[in-house]
C-alpha cells in the first residue's frame, strides 16, 4: 500500500507487522513518535503486544532482555542520551545472545543541548556486539526494520540489531512509503537458550577465565556469519518485494576515480553531489555504508577517498575515516560535517570532493 509517512512512522509500521510480544520504551526526542505510535496501536487493540512504559532507558533495555530470554520477540526505540543510558544493558543484550530489535534515532550528545542529527551516539555502541544498520530514506527505514527482526533471530546470528535513522532529517521528514504484506518473511522465533521453567538454571552467571573467552568468540563467529544472513535476507526481500539493498549502497562507482563515503541521510545527499560532479566531467561515485557492524569490505583500490564523518573520536579522528584507514590502508580526505544537525547540502559535498586533500582532516564550517 502506498502512503506518506515520517521515518518514525515507517519504523512503527514495520514493527507493528513484525508483531513483537513485548515493547518496553521510554520517550526521547526525536524518537518519541515511534513509541507513541506503538502505544497507540496497542491501545487501539491493533497490536496485541504487552507495552511496558518503563521509568528509564536502562529499564527499557532490561525489560526487553527479561522478555527476550523467555523466547519472544521484543522491540524498543531510543535516541542519544537514552541510548547511552542503556549502555550497560546494551552489552548485556548482546552477551546474552538476545535478538532484540531497537530503533535508534541518531542525535547529538550534550552539552550543548542539541536534538539534531549526529552519529556519535550509535558509534559509541559499536563494540557491544550489536549489528547496526544506518538508513537514508523513509522507505529504507521501514524495509530495514522488517529485515532486522529476521536477521537478529536467525539461528546463525542470534544477536540484537539496531536500526539507525537520522534525527529530524529522516525521523520527521515525510516521504512516500510503500508498505508490504510480509507474509512469512519473518519466520517464528526459536531461541535455543530460552528460559525453561521445567529446568531451572542461572543465565549468564559467573563464567571464569577458562570459559569466558569462548562466549566472546561465539559472538564474533556469529558477527562474521551475519554477513551471509544479511545478504540472504536482503535477497529474499528483493525477490518478494522488489527493493534491494546491500552492505553498502554504491552509486556511479564503476568507473569512479574518487568516491565519497558517508552514512545515513548524508550518504543519500551525496548522490546528488555525484550527479553534479559528473556533469563537470569529474568521475566521482558514492558509497553509502549501510552496515556499521558487521563492517563492510569496500573496493577502494586506486581511488581517491573522501569520508564524511557525522561523528568524532576526540584525540583520534573521524571514526569512519579511521576505520577505513585501518581496514583498507587508504589515505582518505577526512571531512567532519553535519555534527549536531549542521546543514550540509549537496553543493557542500561536491565542494569536499573537488577540494579534497588526501590524508588531511577538514572540519566543515570551522575557520582555521
Amino acid at each position: 500500500m502506498l502512503t506518506i509517512a515520517t521515518g518514525n512512522k515507517a519504523v512503527a509500521a514495520a514493527v507493528r507487522q513484525a508483531n513483537p510480544a513485548v515493547i518496553a520504551a521510554y520517550p526521547i526526542t526525536p524518537q518519541t513518535e515511534i513509541v507513541e505510535q506503538m502505544a497507540e496501536y496497542v491501545t487501539a487493540g491493533e497490536l496485541k503486544s504487552r507495552y511496558i512504559p518503563v521509568e528509564s532507558e536502562h529499564s527499557a533495555m532490561a525489560a526487553c532482555i527479561g522478555a527476550s530470554i523467555t523466547g519472544v520477540r521484543t522491540f524498543t526505540a531510543t535516541s542519544s542520551h537514552g541510548l547511552l543510558y542503556m549502555h550497560e544493558m546494551i552489552n548485556w543484550a548482546a552477551g546474552a545472545r538476545l535478538p532484540i530489535v531497537m530503533a535508534n534515532v541518531n542525535r547529538a550528545l550534550g552539552p550543548g543541548w542539541n536534538v539534531w542529527a549526529e552519529h556519535t551516539d550509535a558509534f559509541q555502541e559499536r563494540d557491544t556486539g550489536w549489528l547496526q544498520v544506518f538508513v537514508s530514506t523513509v522507505q529504507e527505514a521501514y524495509d530495514a526494520t522488517l529485515m532486522a527482526f529476521r536477521i537478529a533471530e536467525h539461528n546463525d546470528v542470534l544477536l540484537p540489531v539496531m536500526v539507525n535513522l537520522d534525527g529530524f532529517t529522516l525521523s520527521h521528514i515525510m516521504q512516500s512509503l510503500e508498505t508490504v504484506n510480509p507474509g512469512d518473511f519473518i519466520p517464528p522465533l526459536h531461541l535455543p537458550h530460552a528460559i525453561d521453567p521445567a529446568h531451572p538454571a542461572g543465565y549468564g552467571t559467573l563464567t571464569g577465565p577458562d570459559d569466558y573467552f569462548k562466549f566472546r568468540w561465539d559472538i564474533e563467529r556469529s558477527m562474521r556469519d551475519s554477513v551471509k544472513v544479511i545478504r540472504e535476507t536482503e535477497q529474499d526481500f528483493a525477490d518478494r518485494f522488489g527493493r534491494s539493498y546491500g552492505m553498502t549502497e554504491e552509486y556511479r562507482c564503476e568507473d569512479a576515480d574518487v568516491v565519497v563515503i558517508a552514512m545515513g541521510t548524508l550518504g543519500k545527499e551525496a548522490e546528488v553531489a555525484i550527479d553534479l560532479l559528473r556533469k563537470e566531467g569529474i568521475r566521482a561515485g558514492s558509497m553509502r555504508i549501510r552496515w556499521l557492524r558487521p563492517f563492510p569490505t569496500l573496493d577502494l583500490a586506486g581511488r581517491d577517498v573522501v569520508v564524511i564523518d557525522r561523528d568524532y573520536s576526540f584525540g583520534f579522528g573521524g571514526i569512519l575515516a579511521q576505520s577505513l584507514k585501518a581496514k583498507h590502508r587508504c589515505e582518505p580526505y577526512s571531512v567532519i560535517a553535519g555534527l549536531g544537525g549542521q546543514e550540509v547540502t549537496y553543493d557542500d559535498i561536491a565542494g569536499f570532493i573537488r577540494d579534497r586533500k588526501p590524508g588531511e582532516e577538514y572540519w566543515f564550517g570551522v575557520k582555521a
Binding site: G95, A96, R97, L158, P192, H193, H199, P200, A201, G202, Y203, G204, T205, L206, T207, D211, K214, F215, D218, S222
Partner: protein
C-alpha cells in the same frame, strides 16, 4: 552442542558439604517451637526441611533462622573445635 550463553543448573552439593564452614550451629528447642515454619522460609540455603530439621551437611550457621524465630526457639551454639 553450541552454547551461546553460559548457563548453570543447580546441583546439590556442587561446592561440597558447606556445613564445614559453620562456626555456630542452630539448636532448636522443640518445647518453645510452635512449628510456624518461618525459619525454613528464611533459610538462604534451603537447609531446613518440612519437619524443621536442620541439614547440618549444608547449614553454614548464618543464624538467620534464629534471628527470625518469633518464639526465640533457636539458639546458636559455638561448634566444638
Amino acid at each position: 552442542m553450541r552454547e551461546r550463553l553460559a548457563r548453570s543448573r543447580p546441583v546439590q552439593g556442587a561446592c561440597g558439604k558447606t556445613g564445614s564452614w559453620r562456626v555456630f550451629r542452630p539448636v532448636v528447642d522443640r518445647e518453645k517451637c510452635n512449628a510456624c515454619g518461618l525459619c525454613a522460609m528464611y533459610c538462604p540455603d534451603g537447609a531446613i526441611d518440612e519437619d524443621l530439621n536442620v541439614d547440618l551437611d549444608f547449614c553454614k550457621g548464618c543464624g538467620i533462622c534464629a534471628n527470625e524465630c518469633p518464639k526465640k526457639a533457636i539458639a546458636m551454639e559455638r561448634e566444638e573445635k
